[in-house]
Symmetry: C2
Subunit: 198 residues, 2 copies
DNA sequence: CAGGCTACCAAACAAGTGTTTGCTATGGCA
DNA sequence: TGCCATAGCAAACACTTGTTTGGTAGCCTG
């Protein structure tokens, strides 16, 4: 999408500069999301923006670096979403975590191609040596949730680590079955939290 | 594992017959689990059992067919595990579903290479036209859990479909973080069920 | 107008992919 | 002894992959 080449653009600031790099990123995100990392070739990505395969290497020095850029962009969207959600929340910890979950689900389920790639569904299509690097990016994001869970008034015998993985499982698993229409991300967030709240 | 060629076997029933086919299946399962479907080549699999790439096509007529055979084997292990678990359970529905969850986790987390491939983590490394076929196999399995959830005495306003996906999320997500030692599959099953039970 | 930088083209590279084909050693059966 | 299915070898097929290399328009600055 938005991949038409603009050959005859006269404004130098548009036909040159950083925007072709971003076009490559957009195309890469879309194709990674659709067909996985190694289901997508350099030729596919370059072709989508009207470029030859070799030219991509002017902007990114390897396919791995391109993946990392796309992945970072995806994680950033999640972070921005929960930052925004938590900014407008009162002090109630249950309300706060529900808002964070709703924001997380909104990005996960309908946040565009960048966000979809962050899902572990894609992990197995990544080069093995890239996986630790990418996971580190995601772990940083998950720490926001650990803080929210720490503030929750849970039963003393409830393991907060297990609470976190149970919640994250419910949230992230929804990507495997969710279809637009029946539930909104907000519906799911409140339902999941209600099930875990006693 | 168990991939040594037995050239000098005299017993015909061992050096011939179906056992080379099973050796290929074992090798394929191990390598798919380790490096993903398209991270594994026909040459890798054949080489692991001391065969040349072309020879594999005597046993399987395509790489896709090999994948399907491995996947079916994986699903069968899950089914066998919960069948066994439910056979020795009393009538209490909460106890029954906890037993099923424990069995599911035991296979998911420590059930060998066949079972690991059933996880959606691998979906993106499969050929797109195979995905519906494979999902159909898994859906059949999940129906066992729907029955168990239907028998649960839940609040009337609890959506049982959402209950199922929340539970499955918690269970299957554990594959992304679980490491042997700290928790047993049984620990996790009882913790997850306790969180969802009011 | 000269020189250099940006952004890209054109073409090839070496390696790896799934698969097909023709042939052959082996053992069981008539 | 002759025959035939089994199980695999050896070698190639056509194709795709990520990446490199040398060249070159077009613009900006001096």
């Amino acid at each position: 999408m938005a991949a038409t080449a603009r050959k005859l653009e006269t404004r130098a600031s548009e036909s040159r500069g950083e925007n072709r790099r971003e076009a490559l990123l957009d195309a890469a995100a879309a194709m990674f999301a659709a067909k996985g990392y190694d289901g997508t070739s350099i030729r596919d990505i370059a072709g989508a923006v009207g470029m030859l395969p070799g030219s991509l290497y002017y902007h990114f020095k390897s396919k791995d670096e391109l993946l990392l850029a796309v992945y970072r962009n995806g994680v950033a969207r999640f972070e921005a979403a929960i930052d925004a959600a938590l900014g407008s929340t009162a002090g109630d910890p249950w309300q706060a975590i529900e808002a964070a979950c709703a924001a997380h689900l909104a990005i996960l389920l309908d946040g565009g191609d960048y966000a979809r790639i962050v899902s572990p569904e894609f992990v197995r299509s990544f080069p093995p040596d890239m996986v630790p690097v990418l996971n580190a990016e995601r772990d940083r994001y998950e720490r926001h949730f650990e803080k929210l869970i720490a503030a929750l008034p849970l039963d003393p015998e409830t393991d907060r680590w297990l609470f976190k993985v149970a919640l994250f499982g419910s949230l992230n698993w929804s990507q495997t079955w969710y279809r637009k229409g029946r539930y909104t991300p907000g519906d799911l967030a409140s339902a999941f939290i209600a099930m875990l709240r006693k």
